[in-house]
């Protein structure tokens, strides 16, 4: 019953500081589409590199020294050792500052944070990945993880919708998957072009939800649907999945929220009694129905 206040907290005070960013360097930056660049990053200390491991769907807090921190999801896969890849949209204060940095400049990173996709529970099932816009960034990690562990999963289907052809993230990489038998890679755009000198688009035109009619004989009971996109995207995609009798706990969504700490303390990403940073960012649709405000 009684506890010793003055001694109880000693050990907790001396554990590892969870707010301390490790130094890393921008090795290279690959422009993907306008204001969406892929940052290839490596820890400054090789020991940090060796210890580091993560799961697709997790994110890290990236510090631009002198500006601040923001959460960015990992686009690389832990199955390919080497650099960490972050697909960053130039959007807010920190990402704007990140875009000012040059190759070999130093940043701080801490993490990985979040639950990530349930890669082990999903083994033996079909994977239906559905991305809208920048939602491809975390899904690209899952996609490559599944390709590298191809035997662990049954059918692998990617449906990815963008506004214009020049908005498609990882376009070359994804187009190169089209001839393969072990993945069904479907890309669609809402409009075929916006710039006069853009590379011509010979692919599909329409919403990502239109792609559902091309999927045949997919057993929803043995499939995980993983959706990631802007708030409005979820409503339409989930309606389609429910129409096709996907169980609510086999529909996974990855959410964006304001995060300051990444470790469940600062409160900003709270949805109901869950924190997006430690309980998410991956939630099931069942969670979403039971937590207010999860989906706009």
């Amino acid at each position: 019953m009684l506890r010793s206040n003055i001694y109880e907290f000693q050990s907790k005070a001396h554990e590892e500081n969870p707010y301390f960013p490790k130094l890393a360097r921008i090795v290279r930056r690959v422009p993907m589409v306008e204001d969406n660049h892929l940052f290839l990053v490596r820890f400054d200390n090789p020991a940090d590199d060796e210890q580091f491991d993560y799961i697709p769907g997790q994110f890290m807090e990236i510090s631009v020294i002198g500006t601040g921190e923001c959460p960015i999801s990992l686009s690389s896969t832990p199955t390919r050792k080497g650099m960490l890849e972050f697909c960053v949209r130039r959007m807010g204060r920190v990402t704007n500052a990140l875009y000012q940095l040059r190759d070999n400049d130093v940043i701080g990173i801490r993490g990985p944070y979040g639950n990530g996709f349930p890669v082990h529970e999903m083994e033996g099932s079909n994977l239906l990945l559905i991305a809208g816009g920048l939602g491809m960034a975390p899904l690209r990690s899952m996609l490559n993880y599944a390709l590298d562990n191809r035997r662990k999963y049954e059918r692998l289907i990617l449906m990815y919708g963008s506004k214009y052809p020049e908005d498609i993230l990882f376009r070359d990489e994804l187009e190169s998957l089209r001839g393969r038998q072990d993945i069904d890679c479907m890309l669609t755009v809402e409009q075929s072009y916006s710039l006069p000198d853009a590379k011509p688009w010979g692919g599909r035109i329409g919403m990502v939800t239109d792609l559902f009619k091309d999927i045949r004989d997919l057993d929803p009971e043995n499939t995980y649907a993983i959706a990631c996109g802007p708030p409005i995207f979820y409503k339409y995609v989930i309606d389609k999945l429910i129409e096709r009798h996907f169980p609510k706990d086999r529909i996974l969504i990855s959410l964006e929220r304001r995060m300051e700490c990444g470790i469940g303390k600062c409160g900003h990403c709270g949805i109901g009694y869950k924190y997006t940073c430690i309980d998410g960012p991956v939630f099931t649709y069942w969670d979403a129905l039971n937590l207010p405000e999860m989906i706009a």
Partner: protein
């Protein structure tokens, strides 16, 4: 448990003697009706009859603003190491505030433990003091009107003396050092204590019925009561700032004038502010005042229960006291229950 007695004529000497162990912080009057916790310079300043301070004692562990890191563009980051040189003895905490500290301890512990919080927390000692409720106290409803743990010493007021419960080994050191000021407690004292306990439960003037509350809050999430409260609320955040269990903070970097170095701070934040949920690009997830005020109440009485098995409210009444719009948390829940219109 070891129980002793402090005669009232010795109480200031007792408080002074505690300085042997560290800095003593006491409730003192600020203006006519307000009190604050402040480092003791003279034990005569102790407001023995105070009821609630403006800010709760969490300020000693989670300052309103603190530096977490120092940075330099070439050298990178360096952790600031907070903490006190001496033990900080918080003297005169009422049961609600002791529970408030225990709740903060739970929130800052967990999957990731907040080392900054615990670097201060490890040097905090707590001396509790009994109290008489007023028309804003509802600790009895929250189960926080007494404490079984979380204190080193607890002083229960009797007519001529205080009964002292010794909660910890550190508490035992404090009473051993002040033994010349203390007496053994007698059967008479225990009788008087029980009589006062029995009388105290009738002194509460407001009650918040918590039975089934998380479920009712879920059922009533679309209630128009929230729109009414949202229309009243100024979203000033005062209730968060004075709350013993509000723990949210922002983090930001502040650059020094040299342009290459600076500090990363954290600072108290409130979920009532619109920017609280704002993400890059400008979207917010709780747009209306009603959404935000509902989130705050539902978090304390619903979500917190789901997460920790107890409400995140200790019934101290500070939010009722601080609200410039006159919103009373107890009335809000009574209206939601349909008990009052």
């Amino acid at each position: 448990m070891k129980v002793l007695k402090l005669p009232k004529e010795n109480r200031e000497k007792f408080a002074r003697a505690l300085q042997y162990f560290g800095d003593v912080h006491i409730p003192v009057a600020r203006g006519k009706e307000s009190f604050v916790f402040k480092k003791m310079s003279d034990p005569a300043d102790i407001a023995w009859e105070y009821l609630r301070t403006i800010a709760p004692p969490k300020k000693y562990i989670l300052p309103s603003r603190e530096a977490l890191l120092r940075y330099d563009e070439t050298a990178g980051y360096e952790a600031v190491e907070p903490g006190y040189d001496r033990t900080q003895i918080l003297f005169g905490l009422h049961p609600c505030d002791i529970h408030g500290l225990s709740i903060m301890d739970m929130v800052y512990d967990g999957e990731y433990n907040d080392t900054y919080y615990f670097q201060r927390r490890k040097d905090i000692a707590v001396i509790g003091l009994s109290c008489t409720p007023d028309d804003k106290c509802f600790c009895r409803s929250m189960g926080t009107d007494s404490v079984d743990s979380g204190y080193d010493l607890f002083l229960s007021e009797l007519e001529e003396s205080y009964m002292i419960a010794v909660g910890t080994g550190f508490g035992d050191q404090m009473v051993s050092h002040t033994r010349h000021l203390l007496h053994e407690s007698t059967g008479e004292d225990r009788k008087e204590y029980l009589q006062r306990r029995n009388e105290r439960k009738d002194q509460f003037q407001i009650e918040l019925d918590t039975s089934d509350l998380p479920y009712i809050l879920d059922l009533e999430k679309g209630s128009e009561v929230w729109d009414d409260i949202g229309a009243q609320c100024l979203v000033c955040g005062s209730c968060s700032m004075v709350c013993p269990t509000c723990s949210c903070f922002n983090m930001y970097d502040r650059q020094n004038l040299d342009g290459v170095s600076g500090e990363r701070f954290r600072e108290w934040d409130s979920c009532l502010f619109k920017n609280y949920t704002r993400v890059a690009g400008g979207e917010t997830f709780r747009d209306t005042r009603a959404d935000r005020v509902k989130n705050r109440y539902v978090h304390k009485q619903g979500h917190f229960v789901e997460e920790y098995g107890r409400p995140g409210c200790v019934g101290c009444g500070r939010c009722i006291d601080a609200c410039p719009a006159g919103i009373n948390v107890v009335e809000v829940f009574q209206r939601l229950r349909g008990v009052v219109a």
